[in-house]
């Protein structure tokens, strides 16, 4: 297939995105977000799961969760580029929601090509939420690794670093089987399932590890039998969506800091006068632009140049991760004393970006995998 014109970002995608931007800015301005997730600053508080479920119901009504669900399964069947544009907006407002988790689940289900997966995709189009539960305790970022196994019709073991697990209804669980590995749909509330909240730094997400104490699973819950291959095929899109979220958040960090540079004065000049602040912010802008261009390139490649998908997605995530680290650091530093306080909003984004940076593999990991693609593996 060939490269899409304008990243396949056309009128429909633009309208979807512009509507989303306005909706989110109207409904979740940053002060409201801060009230929602940062009311209790105690670092030893019980792990919280704070999100606006009314807002989420409106989002479901707006159809965002159906964007990449195929039309045959009751979705809108739009492109990944369209979903990326939405994800950039949810990142821009640092939305606490199961949106990304459910999108990731949909991307995996799309690759399963089984009737059970189609059925669950249909449920997602109708509003059901889901997340992936497929990471082992050692934090491996490789699709093949998991600590859950299927023995005698029950799941045993544990999955770690499950995103927004306390906001969703269904878990997509990877399990080692006698034949290899498989994916199962496990509803939250199933017998033997123990979802343990992690206390995490990011205030806009929740994360959990999940114990499977002999959770029985039936044939109808089997989504596919080649979990590693399916997860690997979905990985470029998952990385790209995450990078899109990071670009949106990065743009917020840039614009918020730039605005402060215009109003805050020291030594008789607005801070933006000083090159020690101006030039790093220009560097940040360039990093955001690079990451964003790579995100839309990857998204459009996933839709229309599958042979380039993995390569471009790793570039996007690596670029976004480096950008996010820099954005988070400079937005705090350049706000000075106020930037170090809980009441200043920048910490919400810095924490979300730190979380984003390492999720599904940090920049170093992505570049290592990219080098394997472009240069071949290291000679033994």
């Amino acid at each position: 297939m060939t490269q899409a014109n304008n990243f396949a970002f056309g009128e429909d995608e633009k309208m979807l995105r512009d509507t989303a931007r306005k909706f989110l800015q109207d409904n979740l301005p940053t002060d409201k977000l801060h009230q929602l997730v940062a009311s209790d600053p105690d670092p030893y508080r019980e792990s919280l799961c704070l999100w606006d479920q009314d807002l989420w119901r409106q989002i479901v009504e707006l159809g965002w969760t159906t964007v990449i669900v195929p039309e045959a399964d009751g979705g809108m069947g739009m492109s990944l580029v369209a979903l990326c544009a939405l994800m950039e907006e949810t990142g821009r407002v640092a939305l606490p929601s199961p949106f990304m988790a459910t999108a990731n689940a949909s991307l995996v289900l799309r690759e399963c090509q089984t009737s059970s997966a189609s059925h669950l995709l249909g449920a997602i189009a109708a509003g059901r939420t889901a997340t992936l539960a497929n990471t082992p305790q050692n934090g491996s970022w490789r699709s093949g690794d998991c600590d859950v196994e299927l023995v005698d019709g029950v799941l045993r073991g544990a999955a770690y670093f499950a995103q927004d697990a306390r906001k969703v209804e269904t878990l997509i669980v990877q399990a080692n089987t006698a034949e290899g590995s498989a994916l199962y749909a496990v509803p939250v509330g199933s017998a033997g399932l123990d979802i343990v909240a992690d206390a995490i730094i990011d205030l806009t997400r929740d994360q959990a590890h999940i114990h499977f104490n002999n959770v029985p699973v039936g044939a109808a819950q089997l989504l596919c039998t080649e979990a590693s291959r399916v997860l690997e095929r979905a990985e470029p899109a998952i990385l790209t969506l995450l990078a899109a979220d990071m670009c949106g958040a990065g743009e917020w960090q840039l614009q918020t800091t730039v605005e402060y540079m215009k109003v805050r004065e020291q030594f008789g000049h607005p801070l933006g006068y000083f090159q020690a602040l101006k030039h790093p912010l220009v560097n940040l802008m360039i990093m955001i632009d690079q990451a964003k261009s790579l995100v839309y390139n990857a998204a459009s490649a996933i839709d229309s140049e599958p042979e380039n998908a993995a390569k471009f997605a790793r570039m996007a995530k690596a670029s976004a991760s480096e950008m996010a680290a820099f954005a988070s650091s400079r937005s705090i530093q350049f706000h000075g004393g106020i930037g170090f306080t809980w009441e200043c909003f920048v910490h919400l984004y810095s924490k979300r970006q730190k979380h984003n940076q390492v999720m599904y593999g940090d920049a170093k990991y992505q570049r290592r995998k990219l080098a394997d693609l472009l240069m071949g593996p290291i000679a033994a």
Partner: protein, 413 residues
């Protein structure tokens, strides 16, 4: 014999023996509460009480204020604070809580206060009976410190203070405060004067302390409001209008470049085991015990390289402190001293960032999570590091100072 001991003067050698002996026999005991990463993150009275008791004992034993005159409550020794510091660090004793008093207020009092005042105040500072804080920054005077607007109006031999200070670490516990105030609105630098103020005594009567919360969720610094607080002229340091010059003494010591050595201790919990958080060499241990992408972080060539970069910078900085004392090997006397704060604060920040890379997926876990590697202290240290790169002259200001005072380039503002 330790490397340092080889070079001791006879006074230092004897004092070192004394310290080592005393420290081997005295312990702070196990804390009953989790201790913060440094004094400026003390949140609870319980934390303070534990640390304050330890400082009091160490002072009583002569390990604090060693080089100050006996009349000021000091030990009257010569170059012995360094020895006490080395031995306290070696013994892994808890840190000293009255850090702003020891590091900033004490040298400023010593060099600028009248005898009666410093003889009255320094003993309580050393013993930790009185906690001290520093009132320099204001909402409109951060990097541009000389823009201080909090005003002291003269009324006979009294001054009446009105205004608003911010980022005041330890103010919620403090008995005394060093204060940079405006006494003349017609001149920026020459309109400043320097005072010490008994703020705890004035709480509710002209002084209000409002805690600020840090990005980590910890408390520890505050806003302080002055509403017609009346103080005696006896509390003024140096002449009216000389506040900026006095403040330079404070700042020089704050940045680790002043002549008086600040008493400091191990960062340990009292058990004799120094916590490695924030120290670049500690990254090796973290890597060896961390699983990143499912593998030992210590075997990742890129992380090994990052760790070595940090260790080299930290060692360079440590050896710099050593070289600063060898006049023949320095191009400019203030070149290394004025780098100290900038360099160490950025090394700590960058080291903590490397730790986050090492931790991989596990870096998402906070100090509140039982499964967080190394108790979640490294990501916490990363966040807290911004306190240091912002406070006491942000890194950008430090670079201006170095470019202008040391390299002689044109002033940027």
């Amino acid at each position: 014999m330790s490397p340092q001991a080889k070079k001791d003067t006879s006074e230092q050698a004897e004092f070192r023996r004394y310290c080592r002996n005393w420290l081997s026999q005295h312990d702070a005991g196990s804390p009953t509460v989790r201790l913060p990463q440094s004094a400026i993150e003390i949140m609870h009275g319980e934390q303070l009480d534990y640390l304050r008791k330890w400082q009091g004992e160490a002072y009583a034993a002569g390990l604090i204020g060693c080089d100050y005159p006996v009349a000021e409550g000091g030990g009257g020794r010569k170059n012995c604070q360094l020895v006490a510091n080395q031995e306290m660090a070696r013994a892994g004793k808890p840190f000293l809580p009255n850090i702003l008093g020891l590091g900033m207020a004490a040298p400023t009092l010593h060099f600028h206060a009248q005898s009666a005042l410093k003889e009255r105040l320094l003993p309580g500072l050393f013993s930790c009976e009185d906690i001290w804080c520093q009132g320099f920054s204001e909402p409109g005077a951060g990097s541009d410190l000389a823009n201080v607007q909090t005003f002291a109006e003269r009324r006979g031999d009294k001054w009446v203070i009105n205004g608003h200070k911010v980022w005041t670490s330890l103010a919620h516990f403090a008995d005394w405060m060093i204060l940079l105030l405006r006494t003349d609105k017609s001149s920026k630098y020459d309109g400043l004067s320097y005072f010490v103020v008994p703020i705890k005594a004035a709480l509710g009567e002209g002084v209000t302390v409002r805690p600020l919360i840090k990005i980590t969720g910890e408390t520890g610094f505050n806003e302080v409001f002055f509403d017609n607080l009346e103080i005696s002229d006896d509390y003024r340091l140096d002449e009216v209008g000389k506040g900026w010059q006095v403040a330079q003494t404070t700042l020089l010591h704050e940045r680790g470049a002043g002549p008086m050595v600040t008493p400091s201790s191990g960062r340990g919990s009292g058990s004799g085991k120094t916590r490695a958080v924030g120290d670049a060499y500690g990254l090796i241990d973290l890597a060896k015990h961390s699983s990143r992408d499912g593998q030992s972080a210590a075997d990742d060539p890129l992380l090994r390289d990052e760790i070595m970069k940090m260790i080299i910078r930290q060692e360079g900085s440590k050896q710099g402190a050593r070289r600063a004392k060898v006049e023949g090997l320095c191009e400019h006397p203030m070149r290394i001293p004025l780098q100290a704060k900038l360099v160490m604060s950025e090394i700590r920040q960058d080291s903590a960032a490397v730790a986050i890379d090492i931790l991989g997926a596990h870096s998402s876990l906070s100090i509140g999570d039982d499964n967080a590697p190394a108790g979640g202290e490294w990501p916490l240290a990363y966040m807290n590091s911004y306190g240091i790169t912002i406070a006491a002259g942000a890194s950008e200001i430090q670079r201006n100072i170095l470019g202008e005072r040391v390299l002689g380039m044109a002033k940027s503002k």
